[in-house]
């Protein structure tokens, strides 16, 4: 994918950075958060578990943290499709995958482990690494997990994956899988935690229950499950929070100019654009536009003819909002329409 383009200089810088990070983390662990340091587990320092006691230690760490991690794992419903996500703040900030949200500022539904549904809005995304953010709109205090900000997860560390595989199932709940980090590069963590459709955007945890990655994709091999590491989110945190669409794919397609769609037929008249048939459930219909309305202005510009209208619309993209001034029964009215996709 991206691996072919590393420059030696960049590689060296990264190694140096890692060494510095390690130093910092070692100090950090001792001083602040011993229990959040992945390296603190004996089993993460062993090549393989040697005894039943080692296996019990892995099992205990998992069981101890599972419930809290499960509570913060959500299912995301977009139309007929399902993905997963994880809540990272009490207000309901969610991390997920870019190919799940696909768009910035779109409304979607989040389903918590107890089956309760909440309206949510997609925020920024990074279309090259598959990182994305969203937030629950409903005010409340939500169960959440801590992000591993130390970047101290390493090859061979034990990890567990959660997600609503194949969509939400109240009786089943979020599904947990155990594995190890089997490969690592800049923008991707590989594990042998098996994930499948519907898990996309779901969380990968270190054994102390700290969030280290988000599920992205798999290969045919059961041992190749790929996750976006937390550092990709932290690197772009402000832009993601600021609803920015970053990068040029392949995990989400940047809306192009002219892709916006209103959903009505119209004809030129002396007063303005006379609306004919309005597409049922289309963007215009949803904004309250009716057959017989006459459009006077688009984005504050008085319209000369249909061509003028289309030339303004051509500069807009799907998902963008446009303002219309219409005439209905002799009265002027302002309406905002969120453009759909052509």
């Amino acid at each position: 994918m991206h691996q072919s383009c590393y420059l030696p200089l960049r590689y060296l810088c990264r190694q140096l950075w890692r060494i510095l990070c390690c130093r910092f983390i070692v100090t950090g662990c001792v001083l602040v958060a011993g229990n959040l340091c992945a390296g603190a587990f004996m089993f993460n320092q062993q090549e393989v578990p040697k005894s039943k006691a080692d296996l019990v230690a892995i099992q205990n760490a998992l069981v101890e943290n599972l419930e809290a991690c499960r509570m913060a794992t959500v299912s995301i419903r977009i139309g007929e499709g399902f993905g997963s996500g994880v809540i990272v703040s009490p207000e309901g900030l969610i991390l997920t995958a870019a190919h799940v949200t696909a768009e910035v500022n779109e409304e979607m539904t989040v389903i918590l482990n107890d089956g309760s549904e909440h309206k949510a809005l997609s925020m920024g995304l990074h279309s090259e690494s598959d990182a994305a953010m969203m937030r629950i709109i409903d005010e409340g205090e939500y169960p959440y997990v801590e992000i591993n900000k130390d970047n101290d997860y390493r090859l061979g560390h034990w990890v567990f994956a959660l997600g609503h595989s194949g969509g939400f199932d109240l009786e089943r709940g979020a599904v947990v899988r155990l594995g190890r980090i089997v490969m690592e590069n800049d923008s991707t963590l590989h594990t042998d935690c098996k994930v499948i459709g519907g898990d996309s955007g779901g969380p990968l945890f270190g054994m102390s229950g700290e969030l280290i990655g988000i599920h992205s994709r798999v290969s045919a091999s059961l041992e190749q499950n790929m996750h976006v590491p937390m550092r990709e989110y932290l690197k772009h945190w402000d832009a993601l929070k600021g609803n920015e669409f970053l990068g040029d794919g392949p995990f989400a397609e940047r809306p192009v100019k002219g892709s916006g769609f209103l959903g009505f037929a119209s004809t030129d008249t002396d007063e303005g654009l006379l609306i004919g048939e309005v597409l049922e459930d289309g963007p215009a219909a949803n904004a309250g536009i009716e057959t017989g309305d006459v459009i006077l202005e688009l984005e504050g510009e008085a319209l000369t003819d249909k061509e003028h209208f289309q030339s303004i619309l051509k500069e807009k993209t799907r998902g963008e909002e446009v303002e219309l001034l219409i005439m209905r029964n002799g009265e002027q009215k302002k309406l905002t329409v969120k453009l759909g996709e052509k």
Binding site: M1, Q3, S4, E47, V48, P49, K50, K52, D54, L55, V56, I58, Q59, L62, V63, L66, G79, G81, F82, G83, H99, V100, A102, D130, L155, F160, S165, G166, E171, R172, G173, A174, V175, V176, R177, L178, G179, R180, V182, M183, H190, D192, C193, K194, I196, G197, G198, D199, G201, H215, S216, R217, V218, S219, A220, S221, Q224, G249, P250, F251
Partner: protein, 355 residues
């Protein structure tokens, strides 16, 4: 990067030489195929240290020894060469449970326990509800049955150990954890179809969203937008209601569909046709239908675990870290999931079938 169908279909035809560029599937609402350079060049975790690597198995040697004594290898070929399935030894005098649908109609059954081969095998009975067959071998030496757990509490996140691969002499383990709530698995689809796709509209009515070409529904005159009220007099509230009804039908049977079109009620007789299996995306990600048990739904209650079994490695016991049998593997369900019958139900099944 590419998203076209040609590449997607090539996913399942990778040969060893192409393995360096394995197509990837994205997991969410959309399906992508990407290529990425993999593996040894970048120094991944050695295969024997991965969760189902040889060196990790070594810590489970006591469990392997239990499987060596108390699991059975089941063959259905005349020469007992190719393992078809595993079984679970449940009595000293030779009773073995296995998955019924995988041995159905096989004329040659033989069984290996430890390194002993038994070529006289009686099929004593089948429990359709659980898809279990009871086999019996004659043995002079008492066998070592599994120790069934009396604790009904199977905790999520706990290690579980199953039969992995095997040689003629030696069983091997395969590892996983309990991954979800123990629960009922309902039917997911029927074998016959009407030839329509439904969607639930805003008033929670089943509205026809699509009518397939040349299927019963189209021939009977069902149209997009029709609202289905009942089938054979049964009102349809949930999708399962229709599946339950269709499960009892054969291709060619007719179903009386009552529907609403433009506020008028209509009754149409729709002839059912056989479902043409189109692999779902998650079946595709699971390695295709071949990798999964044919019967993998409709179980009253199962333990759900993440052990990567295949459809020919179910039938054996499911052990916990203490080596106690907490269930019997009954179906490979998907890339992420294997089902096992819990010990509580297994005890009842054994009592009922052996009496």
């Amino acid at each position: 990067m590419n998203t076209d169908d040609r590449k997607i279909s090539s996913v399942w035809n990778v040969t060893a030489s192409q393995m360096a560029f394995i197509p990837m599937l994205i997991l969410g609402v959309s399906l992508f195929v990407v290529s990425t350079q993999l593996s040894s060049a970048q120094g991944g975790l050695p295969a024997d240290q991965r969760i189902n690597g040889k060196r990790v198995w070594a810590a489970f040697e006591p469990h392997r020894e239990i499987l060596q004594r108390s699991s059975a290898v089941i063959y259905t070929d005349e020469r007992a060469r190719v393992k078809s399935l595993y079984g679970t030894v449940v009595s000293e005098d030779g009773h073995i449970l296995t998955k019924a649908s995988e041995i159905e109609g096989k004329s040659h059954l033989s069984v290996r326990i430890g390194s002993d081969l038994y070529s006289e095998v009686d099929l004593l009975g089948v429990d359709d509800e659980w898809d279990i067959a009871l086999l019996k071998v004659s043995t002079e030496q008492p066998l070592t049955p599994i120790v069934l757990s009396s604790d009904d509490d199977v905790r999520q996140g706990h290690w579980v150990v199953s039969n992995g691969s095997t040689t003629r002499i030696q069983r091997r383990v395969r590892l996983g954890i309990v991954s979800a709530e123990t629960r009922k698995i309902s039917a997911t689809k029927s074998h016959v179809v009407l030839g329509v796709e439904f969607e639930k509209d805003k008033e929670s009515q089943w509205k026809v969203a699509n009518v397939s070409e040349d299927k019963g529904a189209q021939k009977a005159g069902i149209q997009v937008g029709d609202v289905i009220i009942s089938a054979d007099g049964t009102e349809l509230d949930e999708r399962e209601d229709l599946i339950e009804l269709l499960k009892k039908k054969q291709p060619g049977d007719k179903v009386a569909i009552e529907l609403k079109r433009d506020e008028k009620k209509l009754r149409l007789d729709v002839e059912l046709s056989a479902r043409e299996e189109k692999m779902t995306r998650n079946e595709q990600m699971s390695g295709g239908e071949d990798q999964l048990s044919s019967r993998r739904s409709e179980f009253p209650r199962v333990i759900d675990h993440d052990t990567p079994l295949t459809k020919v490695s179910v039938g054996g016991p499911l052990l916990n870290l203490d080596g106690v049998c907490i269930g019997m593997n009954i179906a490979r369900a998907s890339r992420v999931s294997t089902f096992a019958i819990p010990a509580r139900e297994l005890r009842e099944i054994i009592a009922k079938m052996i009496e």
